[in-house]
Amino acid sequence: MSIEELYRDVILDHNRNPRNRGTLDHPDAHAEGNNPLCGDELTLDLLFDGDRVTEVAIQGQGCSISQSSASMMSQAIKGRTLDEVRNLIATFKAMMDIETAPSQTGLDPDRPGAVLGDLEALQGVRKFPVRIKCANLAWTTLEEALKSRQ
């Protein structure tokens, strides 16, 4: 296990240049998440057109894993329907769950990136169990935001 498996280039890139940064004035959905043990913080605003996510805005601070995960998530969900977003959440969680065998996560080992895009770079986090909650923060916040819409 090498440290480069965790800190892939794409992760460092998203950490340095987070996508969809900011806040929205009148979001359809909003949530704030934090990781009290680490101090990672995140706020998430969403705009919808029907059941399609049209805008995503993220603000926060924290480690490279939490911030890059949020940035990559924002790209992945933008333009997707609610059902597609829910699928993404489920797949991401399976990928992060050390109880789930890699072959059961729904990812395609022969075509890296085919299912979750850049997000698949976070697979390495599975080998660093204390950091899993960092990777998950954006996604639990997303779940909260979806609830806030209903």
Partner: protein, 409 residues
């Protein structure tokens, strides 16, 4: 240059390999490792004479009671208490501070009174006072920090008005390593008529502590940071204050008599030790005190100053490192918090961990202080008697590696 490297063999965990690398343990400010001299004593208690203390009319109980009370005597001597009955065994520094905040505060504070803390406090010396302030209506005031991470003692005269009834502050910051002039502050505050409480959780294991010289009213600390086991700590208190203070918990052992509608208390210190105490832990703490006294706390302090000086020098070689703490070794102990460029502290810690180096990343239970430093978290390396220059060199190399991974220039 003091050489403590022979002590390393006393600490079995230092043989551990982490991710294939030798362990470099730099998180003793969170909790120290324990020498076999402490572990063997505790194990021997359970294997040869363990029994509950104080009430047994049989040999094992007598032996356990003697060992428990002797441990109290050792701790008393270690901090130069006037007598062993001034030492109350607690679960740790946190319980000791809650004991004072509630036990003294609930009966002596009321609306309009002020509790003076500092910006440098650990949550253990902040949250109990907040709880008591809420229940009594007292207010909190905070002594600020100077630009070089020391307490701004010049502000004391202005802040210490006649409404201040308690001054409670740390003997050594667990974030910046700052060692305030405890005796000086204690004198001003006591002359002013305030109760003076010192959180010595860090101080007691990094420098000699003489409670009579400190001049405080209460001094709190934990065993697990000073080479002792978890589950034990102590509160030293002035006899007259211990006499008058209400017990924090009720139960067995702390009573003189119990009637259906009220009770009277046992003499100090037993009044504050409700229930079965952490017996073996207290005896283990006594063994830790023996170990430290054999080295000598003066030497412990000097070793640590030398190591801290060396570490600060090496860190200065890395332009991306910014240290949050006094530069002057007279005013600080071996706890070094820093930032590495804009790499998040948790990422630094993960990279160091891969190299076998254990440091802490976070707010170190001092959120207001961390906020005042203007960062979300810091990386913290801290020293104990078993640390060496090689450990510092390993840290240096590990930080280089982190710079590489995160392309810090």
């Amino acid at each position: 240059m003091i050489d403590f490297s022979h002590l390393r063999q006393d600490f079995p965990v230092l043989q551990r390999r982490i991710h294939g690398k030798p362990l470099v343990f730099l998180d003793s400010a969170a909790s120290s490792q324990k020498p076999t001299q402490v572990l063997d004593v505790m194990d021997a208690v359970y294997r040869t004479y363990y029994a509950n203390v104080h009430r047994g009319a049989y040999l094992l109980s007598e032996e356990s009671t003697t060992a428990y009370e002797e441990a109290r005597g050792k701790v008393a001597r270690f901090i130069n208490a006037g007598s062993r009955s001034e030492v109350v065994f607690t679960r740790g520094a946190t319980t000791a501070l809650n004991m004072v905040a509630f036990g003294w505060g609930m009966d002596h504070l009321s609306a309009g009174d002020k509790i003076m803390l500092t910006m440098m406090e650990h949550h253990a010396n902040m949250v109990p006072w907040q709880l008591v302030a809420r229940r009594t209506g007292a207010e909190l005031v905070y002594l600020p920090m100077t630009g070089d991470y020391r307490l701004d003692v010049d502000r004391i005269p202005e802040l210490l008005d006649e409404r201040v009834k308690v001054v409670s502050f740390t003997g050594m910051s667990n974030v910046t390593g700052t060692m305030p002039p405890v005796a000086e502050i204690a004198k001003v505050a006591r002359d002013h008529g305030a109760l003076v409480v010192v959180d010595a959780a860090q101080l007691v294991t990094h420098a000699p502590v003489d409670v009579q010289e400190l001049g405080a009213d209460f001094v709190a600390f934990s065993g697990h940071k000073m080479l002792g086991p978890t589950g034990i700590g102590a509160l030293w208190g002035r006899p007259s204050l211990l006499e008058e203070m209400e017990p924090f918990e009720g139960g067995g052992e702390m009573i003189s008599d119990v009637q259906l509608n009220g009770s009277t208390w046992a003499p100090v210190p037993h009044k504050f030790e409700a229930g079965t105490p952490p017996i073996v832990e207290a005896i283990g703490l006594g063994a830790a005190v023996d170990y430290l006294e054999k080295i000598g706390m003066e030497l412990v302090r000097r070793h640590e100053q030398e190591l801290t000086g060396y570490a600060l020098d090496r860190l200065a070689e890395l332009p991306a490192v910014r240290v949050f703490g006094p530069a002057d070794l007279e005013h600080r102990g071996g706890v070094i918090s820093f930032a590495l460029g804009d790499v998040h502290p948790h990422d630094v810690a993960t990279i160091l961990d891969q190299e076998g180096i254990a440091v802490r990343a976070g707010h170190h239970c001092a959120k207001p202080l961390t906020r005042a430093l203007g960062v979300p978290a810091t990386v913290r390396a801290s020293f104990q008697v078993y640390n060496t220059r090689q450990d510092v060199d390993a840290l240096f190399a590990g930080l280089r590696r982190a710079e590489e991974v995160f392309r810090v220039d």
